[in-house]
């Protein structure tokens, strides 16, 4: 019996080869994964190239120079004035107003959901918030124009608030971005280990102290990322401002006056009949490049913040 077993083992051992065999399935999947990664990077680079090329054409046109674009405050393509500031300030205005709404509310919602809400409330509220994020932005645009603007005119007076204004666009944009920020922040807060909360509770911390002094600081990198993503979204948001913020560049810091944002301007210009290689046509590429640079810088900042403040739990 024993002899037999040994024999079997020997026989079996001789049939198992240690030579590498090709695993075609693995290789094919690996190739596909590489291709999809490569493809998306390639497309992105292509877009940046196209944007840069057309923007370069714009700055080479007679009567346009980069310095004037960056320093003057009039954007009037028909008389060759391309100062970016009126468009930039209204973009900044709407973004600022939106974030003034979205950051405090979004953080509040997130802290409530993650620290205070009982599981049943949380599992009801979170999907509702996410539905809010799924409403088409054009609907938000109408909402700004037909609800928020009349409301502002009612409060501040019809002679103060124009029909198109950056204020109502910014406020509604804040509502649009709120779920984004609250959802990302809530994820960051929930990721803070339960043991950290218990340690603080066991030292006699109240719920509020645990939430604000332990959980929020521990989740700071995620929260910072949420805010930066929110800002990027606000800077790039188009439909709401195109509908409600006004058509026509206007160098103003008043939220009650109509002023066109960078995105709003691109929509209006590209929506008309533009001839290829006209100065208007090329100008929108330059504007697009500006937007791209703004969001790129924001992303770099956010990654730096995430790295700087990332907390190691164990």
């Amino acid at each position: 019996m024993a002899e037999l077993t040994v024999k079997n083992l020997e026989k079996k051992a001789s049939t198992i080869s240690l030579r590498r065999k090709p695993r075609w399935g693995e290789t094919i999947i690996q190739g596909l994964l590489f291709f999809s990664g490569f493809f998306s990077i390639f497309i992105t680079l292509g877009i940046v190239y196209e944007l840069g090329k057309e923007a370069l054409l714009f700055f080479q046109m007679p009567g346009v120079d980069l310095l004037a674009t960056l320093t003057t405050t009039e954007w009037k393509p028909h008389v060759n004035k391309f100062g970016i500031w009126p468009l930039l300030t209204s973009t900044l205005m709407t973004t600022l107003i939106a974030m003034a709404i979205a950051i405090p509310l979004g953080m509040g919602v997130a802290v409530y959901l993650s620290e205070y809400a009982i599981p049943k409330v949380r599992s009801t509220l979170k999907p509702i918030l996410e539905i809010l994020a799924g409403i088409p932005t054009i609907v938000y645009g109408y909402f700004a124009l037909t609800f928020m603007t009349p409301l502002l005119r009612e409060i501040f007076g019809k002679d103060v608030v124009q029909i198109y204004n950056t204020g109502s666009a910014g406020l509604v944009m804040g509502i649009l971005i709120l779920p984004l920020i609250s959802s990302m922040t809530e994820d960051a807060l929930s990721a803070v280990p339960r043991s950290l909360r218990e340690a603080a509770y066991a030292m006699g911390a109240t719920k509020l102290e645990v939430a604000l002094q332990i959980v929020v600081p521990a989740a700071l990198s995620g929260i910072a990322a949420a805010i930066i993503v929110g800002i990027s979204r606000a800077v790039g948001e188009t439909m709401i401002v195109a509908v409600a913020a006004g058509a026509g560049p206007n160098f103003t810091f008043s939220p009650f006056i109509g002023a066109e944002t960078i995105t709003g301007h691109i929509v209006r210009i590209s929506g008309g009949d533009l001839s290829y290689d006209s100065i208007d046509y090329n100008s929108i590429f330059a504007l697009g490049l500006f937007l791209f640079i703004i969001t790129l810088v924001l992303n770099i900042i956010s990654q730096a913040i995430v790295r700087r403040f990332r907390e190691v739990y164990e």
Binding site: S195, L196, R197, A202, G204, I214
Partner: protein, 251 residues
């Protein structure tokens, strides 16, 4: 003297598991009481009743009384913040707060409203010395606490709870993640501490229970099987189940 009197304590979790059944137990002052037994016996649950940390988990029903100096801590009128300052806790895995070493020590006192820097500093120094950590960290109190080794972190957690000058210290398997040398340091610190504090320890092994306990309580599936003098219980248990566990026949 009895510091804590537990009367007919039963607890059931929302998922239906019953964790404690009719526990009656007197816990002595200035001694180390070890709660030991196999996992799921209710040791940690009992520990977390004593500082009401169970309020955070899904407890379906809790009945009975826990008298701490004659006051029932399970009473809804109990100020749990004050309770948790009186009853400190150290967890199985060292959980340092994401702050500096020094801030970890002073955080509890600052929560309690202490602002005087000299008081905070003295408390930090005193508690670090008690936890046998002072010599290792005195030159780098402002370093992030996370930079410490696991054993140092656990002693920092012990020091952190001592800084609040509690009367009772609960330790839930405080040395389960530590090497033998660090474990020895923590155990030695506990022997010193019991002169001034009431210590309730869930040890991570029977050996540790036998080494450290003045009084020992054997828990099995939510039931207190046997409770008594440590030396007596480990050498000459009255209950068959205790004997089987202590001698390693199961568990």
């Amino acid at each position: 003297m009895n510091k804590i009197v537990i009367e007919n304590l039963s607890l059931q979790y929302t998922d239906g598991t019953e964790s404690l059944r009719g526990i009656n137990m007197d816990i002595r002052e200035h001694a180390i009481t070890a709660l030991f037994g196999p996992a799921g016996g209710g040791k940690s649950t009992l520990l977390r009743c004593l500082n009401r940390l169970n309020d955070l988990t899904d407890v379906e029903e809790i009945s009975g009384r826990i008298l701490l100096d004659g006051e029932n801590v399970l009473d809804p009128q109990t100020d749990i913040i004050a309770l948790r300052r009186k009853v400190g806790m150290v967890f199985a895995r060292p959980v340092v707060l994401p702050m500096s070493i020094y801030q970890n020590l002073t955080y509890g006192l600052e929560l309690a409203g202490e602002k005087r820097r000299s008081v905070l500093y003295e408390a930090a120094e005193r508690s670090l010395k008690l936890a046998a950590l002072w010599d290792e960290v005195k030159d780098r109190l402002d370093d992030p606490a996370i930079a410490l080794s696991g054993g140092q972190q656990q002693r920092l957690c012990l020091a952190r709870s001592l800084a609040l000058q509690p009367e009772i210290i609960l330790l839930d398997e405080p040395t389960s993640g530590l090497d033998p040398i660090s474990t020895g340091k923590v155990e030695a610190a506990l022997q010193e501490l019991k002169k001034d504090y009431t210590i309730i320890l869930v040890p991570h092994s029977v050996q540790q229970a036998a080494r450290t306990a003045d009084y020992a309580a054997f828990f099995l599936q939510g039931e207190l099987v046997e409770y008594g003098d440590g030396a007596e219980l480990f050498t000459n248990p009255k209950e068959k189940r205790t004997e089987d566990y202590v001698t390693g026949r199961f568990g």
